[in-house]
C-alpha cells in the first residue's frame, strides 16, 4: 500500500509542474498576472523579487512549490485576498453539492441498475435501459435548464438559483439544493447504472450462485447475500471514480444555478486572468482527485481480499 502512495508522488509532482507552467506559457509578463493589472511598477518589482521571476525557471518553481507546501497559495491578483481563504470560503458550497449529487447518483443508479439485471429483457429492463441511455446522453447543463424551466418558471416550486448553507437554515438550503443535486445525480447515474446492471448480470452467472440456488436457498437470499454483495464490489471503485465526473459536473452546474462554489471561483479566475487563483484551484482539484483514486484502490483491497495492488 505504501508503494501505491509513493507511486502517486511523481504524478503529483509532474501535475504541479504543469500547473506552475500555466503562468509562464500564457502570453504576457507573469508579474502582471500575479500582482494584478493595475499594479504600479514598484509593486510588480516587489512581486518579481519575492517570486524570483528574474531567476531561472526551475528556481522559480521551487520557490512556488515551497510556498504552496507551507500553505501559502499566494494572493488573488484581482482582490488581493489570500487564495487559500478564497478556496476555503467556496469549498463548503462545492462539497454540499457534490456530496448531495453523489448520494442521488448512487440511489438512482441502484434503482435503475439492479431490477434490469434480475429480469433481463423484461419490460422493466427496457424502460430502465432507456433511462440509462438518456441520462448518459443528456447534457448536464441542459438538464439543469429544463429543471429550471419546469420547476421554477412554470410550476414556481423551487428557486431557480442561489445557495443557502445547510447549517444556516436546513429547510431553505434543501430547496436550493434539490435541483442542482438531482441534475448532477441523474447525469452521473447514466454510466453507473449500466455498470451496476452488467456487474449484477455477470455475477448471477457465476458457479457459486448456482451452488447457492441448488442447495435450496430462497431466491431473495441468493440475490441479497450472494449476488449483490459480490456484484457491488467493483461498483465501489467506479462509484469513487465518479468523484472526478462529479467535480467536473459541479463546475457546470454551479454556473447553471449560480452556485457559489470552487468551479465558479475557477471560472472567475480564468475570466479575470487571475492566475494565482486558477493555479491554486486546479492544484487543489488534482489533489482531491488523486486522493480519491487512492482511497478507491484501498477500498477495493479491503472489500475484496483476492485483490492485491501489486499483482495486477
Amino acid at each position: 500500500m505504501l508503494r501505491r502512495v509513493i507511486e502517486l508522488l511523481p504524478v503529483l509532482f509532474l501535475a504541479s509542474i504543469a500547473v506552475f507552467l500555466l503562468l509562464h506559457l500564457a502570453p504576457g509578463d507573469p508579474s502582471y498576472f500575479i500582482a494584478g493589472r493595475d499594479a504600479t511598477p514598484e509593486v510588480r518589482e516587489a512581486v518579481r523579487q519575492r517570486m524570483g521571476l528574474d531567476k531561472p525557471l526551475h528556481v522559480q518553481y521551487l520557490i512556488w512549490l515551497g510556498d504552496i507546501l507551507q500553505g501559502n497559495l499566494g494572493d488573488s491578483a484581482l482582490s488581493g485576498h489570500p487564495v487559500s481563504e478564497l478556496i476555503l470560503a467556496r469549498l463548503p458550497a462545492t462539497l454540499h453539492l457534490t456530496v448531495a449529487g453523489f448520494i442521488v447518483t448512487i440511489l438512482l443508479s441502484l434503482l435503475a441498475g439492479i431490477p434490469g439485471a434480475l429480469r433481463p429483457n423484461s419490460k422493466m429492463d427496457h424502460v430502465l435501459s432507456t433511462y440509462s441511455a438518456v441520462a448518459f446522453g443528456i447534457p448536464v447543463f441542459w438538464l439543469g435548464i429544463l429543471f429550471i424551466l419546469l420547476f421554477s418558471v412554470r410550476l414556481r416550486w423551487l428557486p431557480p438559483s442561489g445557495y443557502v448553507g445547510f447549517l444556516e437554515d436546513p429547510l431553505r438550503s434543501l430547496r436550493f439544493l434539490l435541483m442542482p443535486a438531482f441534475t448532477l445525480g441523474i447525469a452521473n447515474s447514466g454510466v453507473l447504472s449500466r455498470f451496476i446492471k452488467f456487474s449484477v448480470l455477470e455475477t448471477l452467472q457465476q458457479d457459486y450462485i448456482r451452488t447457492a440456488r441448488s442447495k435450496g436457498l430462497a431466491e431473495r437470499v441468493v440475490i441479497r447475500r450472494h449476488a449483490l454483495r459480490n456484484a457491488l464490489i467493483p461498483v465501489v471503485t467506479v462509484a469513487a471514480l465518479m468523484v472526478g465526473r462529479l467535480l467536473g459536473g459541479a463546475v457546470v452546474i454551479e454556473v447553471v444555478f449560480a452556485w457559489p462554489g470552487l468551479g465558479r471561483l475557477l471560472l472567475e479566475g480564468i475570466n479575470n486572468r487571475d492566475y494565482p487563483v486558477v493555479q491554486a484551484t486546479l492544484l487543489f482539484v488534482v489533489l482531491i482527485f488523486v486522493i480519491v483514486n487512492l482511497i478507491t484502490d484501498f477500498l477495493y483491497v479491503y472489500l475484496d481480499p483476492r485483490v492485491q495492488l501489486h499483482r495486477r
Binding site: V11, A133, G137, P139, F141, I145, L146, L282
Partner: protein, 287 residues
C-alpha cells in the same frame, strides 16, 4: 487488404449494423443531424447572425420555427450552424487524438524502456486532471475559442488511444507471425504498421465511437462555460449559456439548442453501442 476488400467488408459491417435496432436508430438520428448541419447554408431561412429588428423574443411560429433570441436572430438557423461547430470539434479533436495517441502508443509499446516510461507518465499526469479541468487549464494558457477547446479535447483523449495501441503492440509482439516477419527481414516500422496496427483496429474503432459523443458534450460544456466557441458565432453550448438570462421570457431559447445537442449525442451513443457489440464477439448476443 486491397481497396476492393475493404469496400466489401465495410459494406458487410454496415449491413450488420443496420440489423441491430439501436444501430438503425442511432444512424438515422446522426445522419439527419449531420446532413442538416452540413447543408445549413442551403436549408436555413435566415443567416445565423442576422438580427431581425422588432422580432426580438418571437415565440416559435411558421416564420421562426424555433423562435428568436434577444436580438431577433432566428434560433433554428443558429442551431443548424451551431451543429457544424459541434461536429467539427467532436470529430476533428478525436481524429487528432487518435492519430497522436496511436502513434505514441505504438512507439512506446514497441520500443519500451525510457520512451515507454516517458510517454506513459505524461498520460498519467493528464489523467490526473478530471476532464473539464484539463480543458480549463488549456484555455487558461491559450485563451478561449473553438480551436483551443478542440485542442484541449484532443489532448485529454490521447492517453486512452495511446494505452490501447500500446497494449495491443505488447500483446501482438510476442506472437508467431511477428516473429516470422522479423525472420524474413521486415523492418521494425513495417512490422508495426503492416502486422500489428491492423490488429488494433477493432478496439480503436470502439474507442473512437465512444469518444466522439463525449467530445461533443465536452465542447458544448466548454462553450457553455464561456471557454469554447465565442459569440456571436453560434454553438449549442454558448446559445444555452445565453438563454439562461431569458428563461422566463423566452423558454424556447433554452429548449431547442439543448434538444439538438441531446439528440445528436443520443444518436452517437446508440451507434457506438451497436458498433461495440459488433466488434466484440463476446457481446454479440446482447441484442
Amino acid at each position: 487488404m486491397d481497396n476492393d476488400n475493404v469496400g466489401r467488408s465495410s459494406r458487410a459491417f454496415l449491413k450488420r449494423l443496420l440489423r441491430i435496432r439501436s444501430g438503425r436508430f442511432g444512424l438515422l438520428l446522426v445522419l439527419v443531424l449531420v446532413l442538416l448541419s452540413l447543408l445549413a447554408p442551403l436549408v436555413v431561412p435566415f443567416p445565423p447572425l442576422e438580427m431581425n429588428r422588432g422580432d426580438e423574443f418571437a415565440p416559435p411560429s411558421a416564420r421562426y420555427i424555433f423562435g428568436t433570441d434577444q436580438f431577433g436572430r432566428d434560433i433554428f438557423s443558429r442551431v443548424l450552424y451551431g451543429g457544424r461547430i459541434s461536429l467539427l470539434v467532436g470529430f476533428g479533436s478525436i481524429g487528432v487524438a487518435a492519430l497522436i495517441g496511436v502513434g505514441s502508443g505504438l512507439l512506446a509499446g514497441y520500443l519500451l524502456g525510457m520512451v515507454d516510461t516517458a510517454v506513459m507518465r505524461l498520460w498519467d499526469v493528464l489523467l490526473a486532471f478530471p476532464n473539464i479541468f484539463l480543458g480549463i487549464a488549456v484555455v487558461a494558457v491559450l485563451g478561449p475559442g473553438s480551436l483551443v477547446s478542440a485542442l484541449a479535447i484532443a489532448i485529454m483523449n490521447m492517453p486512452h488511444f495511446s494505452r490501447i495501441a500500446r497494449a495491443a503492440v505488447i500483446a501482438e509482439k510476442q506472437k508467431e507471425y511477428v516473429e516470422a516477419s522479423r525472420a524474413i527481414g521486415a523492418s521494425s516500422g513495417r512490422i508495426v504498421i503492416m502486422s500489428i496496427l491492423p490488429n488494433t483496429i477493432p478496439p480503436l474503432l470502439a474507442q473512437i465511437a465512444t469518444a466522439i459523443p463525449r467530445a461533443i458534450l465536452l465542447e458544448a460544456s466548454l462553450s457553455f462555460l464561456g471557454l469554447g466557441t465565442q459569440p456571436p458565432r453560434p454553438s449549442w453550448g454558448n446559445m444555452l449559456e445565453d438563454s439562461r438570462e431569458f428563461l422566463r421570457r423566452a423558454p424556447w431559447y433554452g429548449l431547442f439548442p439543448g434538444l439538438a445537442l441531446f439528440l445528436l449525442v443520443l444518436g452517437l451513443i446508440f451507434l457506438s453501442n451497436a458498433i461495440r457489440d459488433l466488434l466484440d464477439p463476446t457481446r454479440q448476443n446482447i441484442e
